[in-house]
Amino acid sequence: MKPFTFFSPRTLAEASRILADHNGNGRALAGGTDLLIRMKRGQWTPRAVVSLNRIAGLNEIALNGELKLGARVTLNQLIRSPIIREYFPVLAATARNMAGVQVRTLATVGGNLCNASPSADMSPPLMALNARAVIVGAAGERVVSLDEFFVGPGKSVLQSDEILRELIVPYNSRAARASYKKLEHRAAMDIAMVGVSVAVEFQKAEFGNRNCADARIVLGAVAPTPLRAKRAEEILRGNILNKENIAHAARVAAEEARPIDDVRSSAWYRREMVEALTRRQLMEIRDLRLEIGD
């Protein structure tokens, strides 16, 4: 690694000021599982590394109407958190299928989002849950929907002095039954070829009602950013969640994907798998609905 100056501030304001002073040549350090690899490869050569390790409150998980998820919450913290396991099980399940135990000790939710990899596993489920990002910078605080957070591969809306402080995730019935599935070459330590997250909210009605009030379908690793399949969502919204509508929505989601050929997979296969993963997860939600009728 190229030499750099290390900072370990106690407050976000100070961290943001140090980043601003370095004018694009500073990097915030959370878990380091992406940053250090890029620095070792010489891809990134920051003059300042600003550790967020000593800033209080960044690893907080609190549910108070909405979920507040600190950006520095680690993947292992998500897996162990009773709040996450009970009310946002998709986030615990997603974390558990990422990397291996020792990387999950370090890797953080915020780091996974801020690195803005198109294949990042945390992005689709958090977008499906309609999360908002709370960002702090020299000019103050702003809140951005995660739908608007990603700009391109490796690029988010964060300015060079800005730091993601936390995510706010609404809690409602769809949080409990959101899901995320991905395909990889091996079950651990791999990067998704394709990932799909779905979240469905049903209309409040009598037992067995399967009318879908709202649906969010988010595709990972098949576009420059995580992508909402909005036309597929529209097919489900207000309509019954039956086999025909699910198959139609899944087909349209595959059309909306914009995959590329690369070392991990072909574009053709990715598109086929968007359809399969979307259909499979919507069918699971439908079957669960029929079974427990909640």
Binding site: T33, I37, K40
Partner: protein
């Protein structure tokens, strides 16, 4: 060049060190403290050979800046020996034939200890999950998994 003064507790001993910010925890352990049991495999967190316990949690020490570990507790494979006796996991890996070339073994031992600290009686699936981040090119894993499960049954 910036020099940082840090304090690390490694296997119970406090070490005060002057370091360059770019040095990783793995480099400090191997080069400064001469604890060569922690191996460097890939250097990018993929292989698990450099796994150590940091505040009782397993981490790839090649991806931790030593500066960021200031004030924290580290346990390496050398720290598992008590009164000259190897840890139960080390003994079980030997008796089950769970080591061949030995390069991955310290990392696997640390990952196994981390699992057993949290879950003293793991089943086979739990043992496999715990070492999913440790690559072994020799054993095919089965004997390692058998060893971990056997420790939980003792």
């Amino acid at each position: 060049m910036q020099q940082l003064y840090i304090s690390l507790t490694v296997n119970g001993d406090v070490h005060e060190l002057n370091i360059e910010p770019r040095r990783t925890l793995m480099e400090i352990l191997r080069e400064d403290l001469e604890l060569h049991g922690t191996h460097e495999g890939c250097g990018s967190g993929d292989c698990g050979a450099c796994t150590v316990l940091l505040d009782n949690e397993p981490v790839p020490s090649c991806l931790v800046l030593a500066a960021d570990a200031d004030g924290r507790q580290v346990v390496t494979v050398e720290g598992l020996v008590q009164n000259g006796e190897p840890h139960a996991v080390q003994k079980a890996i030997v008796t089950h034939g769970g080591t061949q070339c030995g390069y991955c073994t310290p990392g696997i031992v640390i990952s196994s200890v981390a699992l057993l600290n949290e879950n003293p009686h793991p089943n086979e699936l739990e043992a496999r999950e715990a070492i999913a981040g440790n690559l072994c090119r020799c054993t095919g894993y089965q004997k390692i998994v058998d060893a971990i499960v056997a420790v939980g049954r003792e």
